[in-house]
Symmetry: C2
Subunit: 214 residues, 2 copies
DNA sequence: CAAATCAGATACCTTTCGGTATTCGAATAC
DNA sequence: GTATTCGAATACCGAAAGGTATCTGATTTG
């Protein structure tokens, strides 16, 4: 077995990982402020000393988890766009993917809402979150741009606005799903995006016609 | 002047009101847990004694503000539907209304996100929030139902689902607006709903045609 | 094998919180 | 005008938080 013996560095890396995982669990469960460092360390099987040997502060840990979340979320969108299909179908797929992948792991969903809530109270953190949000939006807009080149009609709005709107819808879904899971079937997210992209197509066609008249 | 002299009851009612207003400010600014009862009482010009003479607990105050929020939000939708126009135009109006009315008072927006965050950590509160959310949805669905009777095509989905989706979009807008206000123009919310309702119409027409074929 | 290192444990400090018990003082009732 | 009521002030409590300083013991180094 590869689990023979851990060097000091390996051992510490393992400790760090365990602490991070425990933090993710507890933050999702009790909130960022609700889970104390003592709790986290204890959940991971250590004490507070181990935490401060591996992280500068609670804030630093927040940022690390935040980066992980945004990386996952970009992967998600890339996956959805890799499949064939009309924009409407891809949108539905992306919505379902968000609901089931990042969503099946409802921890991420809860955790993201916790991040948002914390951002309201901590301007530093809000700024970090906003930077990453803009970065994600820019990446997704790039993907849309590449995809939109094949379409028969130009989109009726700048692609960046469309990215903003879809991101906003997905976040809204996450929020409501967390507040009242039973009232929100998972396919709502995909259906909503499907309807939205249908509307985009209709408006694009209408405005293409209008341009022909000129 | 009508501000002559306050009886004991009137005086207490005034105190209560001042405390509630101060709480709304501070909760929006620092979060539900971030604003202490001492802070609130002090902001209103009183001490903690006044608070506990007027409210059973912090939790009770949360609920009172929550009720106020949902009442305002229903008024909002009712206003938007009072105006003439196609469903798409009404949807845009409702979106703009949310962004500017409840949104101009950005306190409500922040506060609602705080409520959501708190709901994640307090099951009792989450339940109370979910109840009010369902109630609001039911009311809006009733308004939609009355409105939908005039339409040439039946909606492509149950109206309740449509209510859910629009509510979810509006909440997503509120969330993103709070996280990064500059990145989100106010008209995005109206435009998004307009596109969505355009998509609904397109799908309704398509499925009406499909039914004709049968 | 001895010395140095450092991950992690322990103990502790300061601050702050929600809530309670008690007290004070002005408006009411008689 | 005296007694009573009760809104609000004050003082206090126990719990819990984040963070620091110190210590310990196993692993590494030479």
């Amino acid at each position: 077995m590869g689990t023979a013996r851990l060097s000091r560095k390996e051992s510490q890396a393992r400790t760090r990982e365990l602490l991070r995982d425990a933090a993710k669990h507890l933050f999702a469960e009790r909130g960022l402020e609700g889970a104390s460092i003592d709790d986290i360390a204890h959940e991971a099987g250590f004490t507070k000393g181990a935490f401060y040997a591996n992280f500068d502060s609670k804030h630093a840990l927040y940022l690390e988890l935040l980066d992980e979340y945004f990386a996952d979320r970009l992967d998600e969108v890339e996956d959805a766009l890799r499949h064939e299909g009309s924009p409407e179908d891809q949108a539905r797929r992306a919505g379902l993917g968000f609901a089931s992948h990042i969503g099946a792991d409802s921890e991420w969903r809860r955790l993201y809402i916790e991040f948002c809530a914390h951002a309201l109270r901590d301007e530093r953190f809000r700024h970090e979150l906003a930077i990453r949000l803009r970065g994600l939006r820019a990446e997704i807009t790039r993907l849309y741009t590449r995809r939109a080149a094949d379409l028969p009609y130009p989109p009726p709005f700048p692609l960046e606005q469309i990215t903003t709107m879809t991101g906003l819808m997905v976040d809204g879904f996450a929020l409501e799903k967390v507040l009242d899971p039973e009232a929100l079937p998972d396919d709502v997210s995909g259906t909503m995006l499907y309807v939205f992209f249908t509307g985009l197509r209709t408006l694009a066609e209408q405005s293409a016609q209008a341009n022909d008249w000129q």
